[in-house]
Symmetry: C2
Subunit: 609 residues, 2 copies
């Protein structure tokens, strides 16, 4: 159904042809073991280093299956070969740090009224083979209705037991099959992009115009990158080496392989559940760490859909689906902390909340934590040769998803005596007026505005507005916009306040919603210094500088990159916002992200005569 409404991109691409038969099937009712076409016994494990090559007799056998496939090659590699074109494109794109263009999700606008989502509402979510009779879930759409979906879940101990039981199968599957499973899952998720986008809209309040192309599309690209990195890291390892004799010791044969760390937890985020969960999920899958996905209580559905697809593919590939499990937490049952505290759980990906990070460090010091980015993103405005583009870009960034994502700008630094533009000198007041007008234009037509703003996920986000409004001069007022057919929708246009640069206590702390500050500084040098100070104190995902002076651009870029933050220079228009910003921020997705999920081990023995 979703395939019919939103077909795959019509342009054929190398892998789509080959995988289409699998893609077009309904993933919810898999025939088990369908992908394993041979009755031959499964080959030895990728990571069973000791198995194949340690016989004393004759020369060593081929290296472990993770790097070549010693036996059962057709069986093991069939799925990977199906997606070879996609893998090669992903490896190439990853080396060049760019997305795979042909894998982009087509920007088919979805509506706010649930379509693909409708059949899932008001009933138990079906998750084939999931454990536990328990069901939890009480999500509310930010557009004002209860999803009334319940999800299967289980106690921490039961989830751990099942993850442990799935561990061996996942390791023995070998790198080729695990990579094939990852790619097949991504292709199926892409085919479900409209459904995933609707799920984002009605849990996170993501805007309908961006949820599919950016919310889902960026996540799929990042997951593809994680898959490629995890595959390549394991392929690059040397396999078998002969270390020459040392003094009177015989030469030694060493064989190397990566082994997974253990069970992994992904703690979902409330506002970007898919894009924060997919890279670790796919990295864990390809590195053979069984994964427990615990969504944020307010955004369960997007991750439940993802887990359902990956479990179906795992089952079809003949691996226990419990290599990826869903667990539900509520305010009363802190399942993610219960799981993180288990010794078997060695990897935790989370949203970076300071409280959770400190708890994790104290209670699971042997666990490797990966935190998603957060912080306060500054924009230094010194000048421009495209004033309209600058204002439109800023307004767009502030409005997109109502400023609830970690990539939106919060502090806009403008000198008190104004900026140089192609329209001549413009005062601080004129810059403020230009931004306010651009925001007005964006929200002039409510239906189109809502397609960009989306809705406010957390009611608490708006609670601070009255107090904040009193702390600055209002440049742009926040208004509630009506949403046709959704009378209880929680909406708000961005609030922009002008404040003096000295009032850091007002503008520096991170805000979670559609609030930005136009900060009046003495000059651009102070702007850069204040912005850098804010990054050092609170972190940032990205920074921006606008100037017609190359020296200013370079100084700002130096100051911000030195703090580990990527910088966009004179980026105007809609490209300022959301999806593009996410792509930049994805520089964290490097080899370290996957290598930390494995340990390299060696098996060695004397090589005698």
């Amino acid at each position: 159904m979703t395939n019919r409404t939103h077909p795959l991109r019509p342009t054929p691409s190398p892998w789509q042809g080959r995988s289409s038969r699998l893609v077009q099937r309904q993933p919810c009712k898999p025939k088990r073991r369908r992908l394993v076409r041979s009755r031959r016994p499964r080959p030895p494990a990728t990571l069973q280093i000791g198995d194949a090559g340690l016989s004393r007799k004759g020369r060593p056998r081929p290296p472990p299956g993770g790097r070549t496939e010693p036996r059962g090659k057709v069986t093991m590699s069939a799925l990977l070969e199906t997606h070879r074109g996609l893998l090669d494109a992903a490896l190439d794109a990853t080396r060049q740090r760019r997305p795979v263009p042909d894998f982009a999700v087509p920007a088919t606008p979805i509506g706010i009224t649930p379509k693909a989502l409708q059949p899932l509402l008001d009933r138990p979510f079906e998750l084939d083979g999931a454990s536990g009779a328990a069901r939890l879930g009480a999500e509310e759409s930010p557009f004002g209705f209860a999803l009334a979906i319940t999800y299967p879940t289980a106690e921490a101990s039961e989830l751990q037991r099942r993850a442990e039981a799935a561990r061996t199968g996942l390791a023995r599957a070998g790198l080729a099959l695990r990579t094939g499973i990852a790619l097949e899952t991504l292709v199926r998720l892409r085919a479900q992009a409209p459904l995933l986008a609707e799920a984002l809209v009605h849990t996170t309040g993501a805007p309908a115009s961006l949820a599919e192309s950016s919310g889902v599309g960026s996540a799929l690209q990042a997951a593809l990158t994680a898959t490629a990195l995890a595959y390549e890291a394991q392929k690059r390892t040397p396999t078998s080496l002969l270390r020459p004799a040392v003094s009177d010791e015989p030469p030694r044969r060493l064989r190397f392989g990566y082994v997974p760390r253990g069970a992994a937890l992904i703690r979902g985020t409330a506002l970007q559940p898919i894009v924060t969960a997919l890279p670790p999920l796919f990295a864990n899958l390809v590195t053979a760490n069984p994964t427990l996905v615990v969504p944020h209580p307010s955004a369960i559905l997007p991750l439940a859909l993802v887990v359902r697809v990956v479990r179906a593919v795992l089952a079809e590939a003949g691996i226990g689906p419990d290599a990826v499990q869903l667990g539900i937490e509520t305010a009363d049952t802190p399942l993610s902390r219960q799981l993180a505290a288990l010794p078997a759980v060695r990897l935790v990906d989370h949203g970076g909340e300071a409280g959770f990070a400190a708890w994790l460090g104290a209670n699971a010091p042997g666990t490797r934590g990966f935190a998603a980015s957060s912080g306060v993103n500054p924009v230094v405005i010194d000048g421009t040769d495209d004033m309209d583009g600058l204002c439109h870009g800023l307004a767009y960034s502030l409005a997109a998803h109502s400023g609830q994502t970690p990539t939106r700008p919060q502090t806009l630094f403008v000198p008190a005596d104004g900026i140089v533009t192609e329209q001549g000198h413009l005062s601080f007041e004129a810059v403020a007026a230009g931004l306010a007008q651009a925001l007005d234009r964006l929200v002039a037509e409510p239906a189109a505005a809502i397609d960009l703003l989306g809705a406010i996920a957390d009611p608490a986000t708006l609670a601070l507005f009255p107090r904040l409004q009193a702390l600055g001069r209002i440049v742009a007022e926040s208004r509630r916009l009506p949403v046709e057919g959704f009378a209880k929708a929680r909406t708000a246009t961005p609030l922009v306040l002008a404040v003096e640069a000295t009032r850091e206590a007002v503008y520096a702390p991170p805000q979670a919603g559609p609030i930005a500050f136009l900060v009046r500084t003495a000059d651009t040098a102070e702007s850069i210094e204040r912005a850098a100070h804010g990054i050092a104190a609170h972190g940032a995902v990205l920074a921006r500088v606008h100037s017609t002076n190359d020296h200013v651009v370079a100084t700002a870029a130096d100051a911000f990159t030195a703090l580990g933050v990527s910088v966009g220079c004179n980026v105007t228009g809609a490209g300022e916002g959301f999806g593009e910003a996410l792509d930049e921020a994805a520089t964290w997705l490097d080899e370290g992200f996957v290598l930390d999920r494995m340990r390299l081990v060696a098996v060695h023995r004397p090589e005698r005569g």
Copy 2:
């Protein structure tokens, strides 16, 4: 002086010739800026991404200096070119996961009587340009005399201030110069190997026969690997990319570069101060993170010597020496915790003590911690075709450095009904007797024995012996051995106890000294299971299996590698021990070890006509 006593390996190697002039100079009195041969202004920073390529005019300039050297190439690259041969050898060896043979430290035996060390005793340690009037230090040699050396130190805030001041210079030096500095430092440290070895002997009790070749030599190889990895990771990054136009947005020029995380702390260990500190020190240096080295209060001298050399090279290269600083902590001044708690300190390498790891997680959750390996190393004994070699290898491993290093075996699992050997079937008792005899032979001649045993670093290590002895049957008794000329030397031969497999509470917990348990199991299947259980509970650095049955070898290797532990199969003789074991354990030294010390950032701008 040390060069004269212990000359460089006479065999010429490609880099020794070129660097010898620098190597043979006394490193303690450097002429400042000697390595910078040009008066030309220094080129722009490696990491100043914004500086060179962001001009709007014409095509982009060359990528940042970290990857090529856009200007001042001769000046910046001179030091690296001097060591190009060593770098190439290190890159090649790292890819093949083996040491650089020509860089091995010659196994010149040193004595226990201080020679190179003598001039340093009973006086303040000279550290050129180090901060602070404060002096601390109260090391005692395990051979029974006070070193009576004091070291300059400073408050945490002052060390941080100096690290911060050194940050920019280190980043601006560029990758080529930083790598050159690292290699020059390693060459000089190698020339000082005898002095470093004596420092190990009289702080950690390292055995004279192994301190230089293994204690220092392995550390230098690991540091060389870290240097090569950090260099290669930064060279591999793409430099400048043009991202094609998306919808109505212009194409974008993206430039990439790595930036350091911030200040780094290395918390020294008591027993392996050099081998645990050198890899992070060199990784931090090449990735441009200023480093604060805080040795363990009982083993300051080895790291003070290292810091002195690297500071000298930094100063000669025209970079502030404070990119690497020494700080001294005592029981009263927990300097390493004070430093780790500072927000500026983002990387902490430590020995893996559970208490410190938990403290770090709770008090510095945004800090990336790297823990050195520790645990309980098991040996599964099922059979052998070289009984004498097996017993000698085990005895050697137990005796080397009095079993105080994390690589020595602690639990030896033997079936109750004995093992198959080339001498026929041998009972459990016969295995115990064979091991006891091999230990007796090793310690028969006290002077030679002390050269292998060394001394006991911590008096508390021996305090447990009386209680433990009562818990098992004594297979080999621990004796104190006299050391000629060192009447107060703290020595002990290994204590080996036979215990039943069910008594895990006795043999499973990690022990810090010369204690091992011969564990009587029902059969080898139980041996493997108990050994794996111990690894899962307490960790391990490495594991061993001895069997003539390929299936047993494979089963054990699978079980232990699945837990992330490297395995040696049928390794007998002295190769069982110390240095070789360290080489294997060094599989943790992979790209992740260096990548986590940097962040990849991008600077991008629209590319217009």
